[in-house]
């Protein structure tokens, strides 16, 4: 398997790329949203590195999952924290690993229940193979080709490490 960089290296890379992208797109007051749980850790680190003014928002997409009726309830759902006004805001959506794309689909559904953002930029620490719906990230730390039976997971928050199985 390909060598995986450390989360710390990837975070620096993400921060640089994201800064450039925000300048290119003339976005100066973005709203950063982390997806529970790993995405929040990544978003938190990026939020610090970019010294963003707007507080970090979080999403728990458990109630928006498309496999709810198959896997049943997860009783430990964390609250989603989004500002009540997200109309015309530029959102930076952050997750740890982009895999099937279903989590991002669910997260976007939840965001659109709150309003109509001006744009959504997707940032992922790892982008791995196995997409099942047409979703792609704008900023990626590392691309990985993994077989269907291989899994990568971010553990944390202190220290942030990858667990591969």
């Amino acid at each position: 398997m390909e060598e995986i960089a450390t989360p710390e290296t990837l975070l620096d890379k993400l921060a640089e790329q994201l800064k450039t992208l925000l300048t290119e797109r003339s976005i100066d007051q973005p709203l950063m949203v982390g997806i529970h749980t790993g995405g929040v850790w990544v978003a938190n680190a990026l939020h610090n590195k970019l010294s963003l003014e707007q507080p970090l928002s979080t999403l728990d997409i458990s109630f928006y999952r498309d496999d709810f009726s198959r896997i049943g309830m997860n009783p430990q759902v964390k609250p989603s924290k989004l500002p009540s006004q997200i109309d015309d805001r530029h959102i930076i959506l952050v997750d740890d690993v982009l895999h099937t794309g279903r989590t991002i689909r669910a997260a976007m559904n939840e965001i659109f229940d709150y309003g109509r953002p001006a744009s959504i930029t997707l940032v992922c620490l790892i982008e791995r193979s196995g997409r099942e719906i047409p979703i792609q990230a704008d900023v990626v730390g590392q691309h990985l080709h993994l077989d269907d039976n291989q899994h990568i997971k971010l553990t944390g928050p202190e220290p942030l490490e990858f667990a591969v199985a």
Binding site: F63, Y64, F68, G72, Q76
Partner: protein, 342 residues
Amino acid sequence: MVNKASRPTDSLIGHDAWNIQLDKNGQLKHFLTVEGLSTELLTNILDTAESFANINEQSVKKVPLLRGKTVANLFFEASTRTRNTFELAAKRLSADVLNVNISASATSKGETLMDTLQNLQAMQCDMFVVRHNASGAAHYIANRVAPGISVINAGDGSHAHPTQAMLDMFTIRRNKGDNFRQLRVAIVGDVLHSRVARSQIHALNILNTGNVRVIAPKTLLPIGIEDMGVEVFNNMEEGIRDADVVIMLRLQKERMQGALLPSEQEYYQMYGLTEKRLSLTKPDAIVMHPGPINRGVEIESCVADGPQSVILDQVTYGISVRMAVMSMALGREPETSEAEKT
């Protein structure tokens, strides 16, 4: 303190096949009574409700969990709080809600209960929320509906009101933490006619509450109440001393036949929760009431509105608890037969 080993509920706890509330995987399919359910399952309901409480505090109070499901509210008996919070709970889960107006429906034209239900099944409803003045009505219905339909008991006669009991447990846990062992809970008033009290006593026992007391005149206590694992008091002052939680019950005049009470005034003199009596409890005790409250009959107005009252919080939490029960019953893993598992 009461010895819990001898409590009658203990022998019923477990995922026995005869318990029609649970499916083959031990998941909640119907919610008819708290009796016989495990500590783990009740805790699971409370934890799930906690997640929904967060949703209910957001600006967008809706999630798509039960989109496409249809919930029929069948209230054969008057209700405002329970019916409205069940309706709101279903709507906040994105289910479609049918409020069947029983008094104006075919029931009043002579249609039998089973025919009404079969018609609703033909309309492809997924859940029936049932309130009925006959004890056992929800069980009766649950035993006869099509396999895919869940039945939630929203109060049957003087038997059970499980979602009320669970929202009360949720209220207690929010205010007093999750260690029920250290709590003294006093239930005051018309226990005889109260399905709420019965369900509360079962839930408190299953959650291992340290001390559960009932306080009422002998005429308003069912025979054999001691066997439910409660300490019985006929004197209000003695009963509420050092309580952490005081649950007042409504005097159910509509269910009373015969002279069980001399008068409302006398009842208030003996058992009304006044400010003076409240001072006998722990200083941080909370005051609960399932509603509707009769001010000046079982509770003094200033106590109902006072700083220790959590009566309106109970209403708020009722939505979260009902969302939890509905989503657990309708969002179960599909039942797999033993053959499929291997």
